[in-house]
């Protein structure tokens, strides 16, 4: 186990270097924006990685609460399968907004259900809580990167640092705020109840996300704002470089998560050892 990590670290470093080369040098220059657009190769993959990590946190939180007792567990399993099936079926029945392919919706539904069961298979209930912390913390780091690179991209291209109605950046900010509050709850609550309380908060956060999106979207229709990040189709060569960067960042995120996971497990074992020692009393530590 211990030998795998350095090998993966070297591979990830190589992949990241290749991705940077592709992003800075090999990719074609944008006609409208010039070279500044290359920020996209860090901004967008970080956003996708952050969202993935937050999804992992959400799934882990739900699972932690569900696995509290066998009945809730079985019910949660059935609900997850039902939602997965419903999402797949709905792609055929419900008309989707423009630009969203039915295949991507169906894939997302199946992927999330698969993620739920994969996590269930690989992690015990206690480990699932650790996974939730790790997902939230590393997610916040990547989200910070998104929020820093976003304005740095917006300023030279659109002339403003921030537009309150920009739906993507503002939703990301709210997501960041929600997860920072999650991490504060974890830090400030007493250890017996942290996991349950934090899991409840994570669920609330997840429920909030679509509402945040719609409220900002409607705000924008009433107060027209410059659209940062632009829509429209993307050059296939640029898409290729974008995906390479995403892969590199995913590997990097996986390594960070793995390290953070081991750190958290070690910390909890230490706390347990301290507690046992305190129970045993000062004189009996022979």
């Amino acid at each position: 186990m211990k030998r795998v990590f350095p090998i993966l670290a070297v591979l990830t470093a190589a992949l990241l270097s290749y991705a940077v080369y592709e992003g800075l040098i090999a990719a074609p220059t944008d006609q409208l924006q010039g070279d500044v657009y290359r920020i996209i190769y860090y901004h967008v993959p970080s956003a996708w990685t952050a969202f993935l990590l937050f999804v992992i946190n959400f799934v882990a939180s739900v699972q932690y609460l569900a696995r509290a007792n066998p009945r809730a567990d079985r019910l949660a399993d059935r609900i997850v399968i039902a939602i997965g099936v419903a999402v797949c079926v709905s792609t055929f029945l419900v008309p989707l907004p423009k630009g969203i392919h039915p295949s991507s919706v169906a894939t997302t539904g199946i992927a999330m259900a698969a993620l739920y069961f994969l996590i269930k298979k690989c992690f015990s209930r206690q480990q699932v809580d650790v996974l939730a912390v790790v997902g939230a913390e590393v997610g916040v780091v990547f989200c910070t990167v998104v929020l820093v690179t976003g304005p740095l991209w917006a300023r030279p291209v659109w002339g403003i640092w921030w537009a309150p109605g920009d739906i993507r950046l503002t939703s990301t900010l709210v997501l960041w705020l929600i997860y920072v509050s999650y991490l504060m709850l974890r830090r400030f609550s007493s250890s017996g109840q942290t996991a349950v309380l934090a899991a409840a908060l994570a669920i609330f956060g997840a429920l909030d996300v679509p509402l945040v999106y719609f409220s900002i979207w409607f705000f924008r229709t009433q107060h027209p704002q410059p659209v940062i990040g632009g829509g429209g189709s993307i050059d296939p060569r640029m898409l290729h470089v974008l995906l390479i960067n995403w892969l590199a960042f995913l590997c990097f995120a996986a390594l960070i998560c793995w390290s953070r996971f081991r750190l958290e497990v070690l910390q909890r074992e230490l706390e347990e050892a301290h507690a046992l020692q305190a129970l045993a009393g000062p004189r009996s530590s022979r």
Binding site: L65, V174, L177, I178, V180, S181, M184, L185, F188, S189, S190, G192, Q193, V196, L197, A200, L201, I203, F204, G205, L207, D208, L211, V212, F214, S215, I216, F218, F219, Q222
Partner: protein, 225 residues
């Protein structure tokens, strides 16, 4: 045993009666709200045209801070007299307790809003250019949105250090869609420039989603050990 509505009603009546007798929370909230209104009136010069556009934001920020003061003391009385432990072992449904607390807070904050609104109208010379009746669903739905999540997070914050600061830290990010809806809805009605209907619909949706979530998860939070 007692019906859930019986328990909720009894708890609510008890809370309201206790508060009416001592008027602790109500007095502090009232004075705090007055201070906020006065400070804001010094910070933002209320010229008639501008004031309609920003008044929505100012009013709701003031109500938000006043609501936090009210919410922070939600469970304080229960904690002092170990009533929460009694609730945990009693056969009464935890949801009744939650509903009673949330409704009690709703009453307090609504009384507060009713008393503060004339002050705002006076200080900012407000006059509604749009359909003023729409302000009532905005106020009702918006207040419930703050109060229902606030009561839930107040219960969560009970188990944390720095209890009083934890509540706004948890409440504000989650409430952002509701705050956006309240502020923009109020601005839409006061300026008459836009329709507030979507905002009212969003608030209703928010209320339904989070009331359900609070009712489903409250027992878990109460029993968290």
């Amino acid at each position: 045993m007692s019906r859930p509505s019986g328990v909720a009603g009894a708890t609510l009546a008890k809370d309201l009666r206790l508060e009416w007798r001592s008027k602790d929370a109500l007095n502090s909230m009232l004075f705090f709200s007055l201070l906020v209104v006065v400070v804001f009136s010094f910070s933002f010069d209320p010229i008639a045209e501008e004031s309609r556009r920003i008044a929505g934001g100012l009013i709701w920020v003031a109500f938000l801070f006043a609501a936090v003061v009210a919410l922070n003391q939600t469970w304080a009385r229960e904690l002092r007299n170990q009533v929460l432990d009694a609730y945990r072992v009693s056969p009464a449904a935890p949801n009744s307790l939650f509903l009673a607390k949330a409704l009690g807070n709703f009453v307090f904050v609504t009384v507060l809003e009713t008393l503060m609104t004339p002050l705002f109208i006076v200080f900012y010379q407000l006059r509604s250019l749009g359909p003023a009746w729409q302000l009532i669903p905005i106020a009702v739905l918006g207040t419930w949105a703050l109060v229902v999540n606030g009561t839930f997070f107040a219960a969560i914050s009970l188990r944390t250090r720095s209890r009083e600061i934890m509540l706004p830290l948890l409440l504000f990010p989650i409430s952002i869609p509701a705050i956006l809806a309240m502020v923009n809805g109020t601005a839409a009605v006061l300026t008459g420039e836009f329709s507030a209907r979507f905002w009212i619909a969003l608030l209703a949706c928010y209320d339904v989603v989070f009331t359900t979530a609070c009712l489903l998860l409250f027992e878990t939070v109460l029993q968290a050990e």
